[in-house]
Chain length 350, copies 2
Amino acid sequence: MEAGDPLGMHRVLPESDPDQPLCLPQRATRLDSDPDKVFESELVVEVETLNIDAASFRQMEEAAGGDSAKVGELVMETVRKRGKQHNPVTGSGGMLLGKVRRVGGYVSERGVLPGDQVATLASLSLTPLRLTRIIEVRPASAQIDVEGTAIIFATAPFAKMPKDLPQRLALAALDVAGAAAQVARLASPGQTVLILGAGGKSGLLSCVEARRKVGRSGKVIGIESHVPYAKELLAFGICDVVLEHDARDAAGVRDRVAELTAGEGADLTLSCVNVPGCEMAAICATKDRGKVYFFAMTTSFTACALGAEGIGADVDLFIGNGYAEGHAEHTLELLRTDNRLRTIFDRRYC
Amino acid sequence: MEAGDPLGMHRVLPESDPDQPLCLPQRATRLDSDPDKVFESELVVEVETLNIDAASFRQMEEAAGGDSAKVGELVMETVRKRGKQHNPVTGSGGMLLGKVRRVGGYVSERGVLPGDQVATLASLSLTPLRLTRIIEVRPASAQIDVEGTAIIFATAPFAKMPKDLPQRLALAALDVAGAAAQVARLASPGQTVLILGAGGKSGLLSCVEARRKVGRSGKVIGIESHVPYAKELLAFGICDVVLEHDARDAAGVRDRVAELTAGEGADLTLSCVNVPGCEMAAICATKDRGKVYFFAMTTSFTACALGAEGIGADVDLFIGNGYAEGHAEHTLELLRTDNRLRTIFDRRYC
């Protein structure tokens, strides 16, 4: 029996350009998703639900003119072509929920058995996937129920689904599991934390974690342009201030945050807005030597790098890492302990 | 006389989509580069040389089939269409050298007078530019001598050219002025620093600064695939180890760095390679809770974010900020004090 590579190199199909060294599965154009090829370093999963990355789902909805069935067809097409749900336009993926079918001999220490329900925490953009059919597209939650199989590599993070929380709720939260764990590392007591897209999924988790970290002497400012989300966030009461404002309006955001911070700007800004063009609002609203953390997959590397340089903004710019040790448990714990957060998630994603 | 906006919003031409809030100059499709419109918050510069961003120059060279004259035409076309040298493919710019023609009344405290020679440190991707002609394209240094005018906004960093260093040398170094200053902040004594693309311009500056910071107990590992650069770097003697290796080969880089670090990986990895697809080598070769700093403009945000997540790499990912307080002086000082570095720069860029 073959071992397979822990990073999944054995599933990467060669590129058309033979000069390129074999790349990792995320960067590969195509993966071999054949579940009948057996490797000892893999888990094989029967897929039940795909949880599509927000930026990717939005792009496919636009391309499909809002037709859910067509979104399903786009997913089938991508998976057929690439062997993974790796949106060729946005470059992003999502995650999935399913039941373990087979546990390779070299990954038995990962603590799951056939029949266990798991959610992948590695992106769909690197997860070998084969689909036989689309069952239902659910736009409200960006989830798609499907029939198919997926492969989890030895290094790919996943979570055993909790028994005390509804499946869809846990899946929705685990999709952005990195957010709260990263905020916990970056925010300190007394600081001002600004959250762009504060009413969305990762935004809400960031608000709750920021509130815990900055304490009473700190300040949490939430910016949200979607009116129902802004109202919900205001009613939640977790932020000191909720501003209804378009995060693409850099000068406007900067001015409103300046008013609330005696002209200084935020110590830490988290960008959770899944539309392009919000980089400069985050940078302009952050104080000198502050930190800007970009969770949104629509973030442009060059817009950040050159934009900060261009206005002489001496801030640290972070690419949101979706993985942090213990992030899944951390995020589920927030849902278990904060009833108001749980209520919003229940209503929205269940 | 009009003041103009410190961020340059007054030069932004409206987008075709009227729903979009007015964006900052870097994100704008087109800028008004008319030097006859006078604003008190601006410097007007007579341009002598464009120093094109390496990724952008390489892209244009490829598009032009290696024909220098055609690269010049591409630049003229971009500037005519956009009012700035903002490469529409790579999204990057570069910087420029010129003589101050006019100093607005509100920026007299910036310390320059008409006739002073300055280099912009804000990207060309946000600098209003009008060109009347291309004088010479110099592929070896990615520099283009031109005739034209540019605008520097009140918040845009620039440097007065030093009198004790040759112009082209200073310009080449200032183009990557952010590198050494950021390395100085991130590296600590005793650490292992890995530099991908260590023989290039920002790579060399990063090596010198890393060496100063980690000291004798630390380790500097340079990876360079371009053989002449790798040889030059080895002869320089600033790195503990120089490896000739393709930085797109993630698994290979990881394995070679693992051999040199008892399997641990680097504390800090700097990616200075201006070709796409080097994200995962940097991430795979960095130890748990280490830092990865991406200077290269070819870096893909999603490749980093999803790639790190996908292999469970708990590392901090930084977008290279081209600005840091005092960065220009910091970089020129390295050239003044390190004769071997100076020699390489002299030979290559003068």
